[in-house]
Amino acid sequence: MQNSQKVSFSGFQALIASELMVLEANKISAQTQFRLLPNWSSLNALLLISKVNEIYGVFISSADLASLTTLEDLYELIAKNLDGVK
């Protein structure tokens, strides 16, 4: 993996906020359903997945993403892949 740094939720939250152009980062929480965010689109989903790959070295497939609902789900999937558990 390109980068083995551990993923903190606050770092992940900041990443989501910047990639999905959420102007007030404190408005998103672990329970936020990412598909309901105002700028969620297929393009922004792709940008998010590419950013997650660049920063954490983790690949999230479209099937994985489709099975997730909240930001916590996504965060946990990344953390699990970083630990190599999967």
């Binding site: 390109q2 297929s42 940008l47 997945i49 590419s50 790959n53 660049e54 690949f59 497939s61």
Partner: protein
Amino acid sequence: MALSKLPNFELVGSTIVIPKNQEDNSFLEGLTRLEKEQLILHTGIKFRRVAPESDKIENYFQLGISQLLEQLNWEPSQIDVLICVTQSLQTPIPSFSCQIHGLMNFPLGTLCYDINSGCSGFVYGIHTVMSIMNSLSKANAKAILCCGDFSSQLIDKNDKSTLPIFSDAVSISGIEKKNTGMISHFNLETDGSGRNAIFLQDKTMKLNGIDVFNYSLKLVPNHLRELFKRAEIEFPEKEVVVFHQANKLINDSLIKRLNLDSNKVPSTLYQFGNTASASIPLSLGIYANKNSVTRAILCGFGVGFSLASALVYLSSDYKFCIIEK
């Protein structure tokens, strides 16, 4: 990996034929201004060529071959091999290569067939052409490789993720057996677990952007490193690296992952979009018209999921042009 090497071949020229009709992603319907700006920024694609529905792809190939023959000073009677790489709506009967053979009045001694391939098709096509010519007894055999699609005819006009990416174009390339002593190298691979990343359903092309991104980033870096190793290129400092023009996000990520010099990795996305199997000869030709290129690294990846890379040699008088129809 399927590694292969073939001696004594040169790419002697390419012609690209594109429709006159150009569409601009800034004017896409059903997206906000911000969404369109984001789309152009991240895909890197502003303009696309779209052939009128009444246009036939074989006429584009025919026009391009005539132009190439003239540029190279080749006679139709000299053509030993004709290979067509396309993924049109359905396999025509007879094959495109037989149709084009007839339109061009090529001789009885021309070997013809089609290859069903997209993004990696130009490199697969070169490998096929060179392998065939290597088996021919003729010393200075000449081949024509046709690649390209009218992807616009496979796209649902309401599919706002696929429509802005693909663009129509065909390429016609000349490849010649010459006693240069130079060896072309190839790495040809397939990962069929990615067969659903891009596929045709009900005569419409479906593209899953996330899966295409993932397969590209997972597979292409090691795939290319194997080619470099095989061709004994420690790091491509001198050679131009021509990627299939998928989209800016994927291609920039690959450049970063492989630590390539972006000045040596041409992009034609902004002006021509993703032109499937014509994208590598298009990008190589535009680069070669402005820079001196003796050998080039080519890398096609996508629909399949299919990967093909090569180190190939260009003739010193390599000819390239783009014509509109």
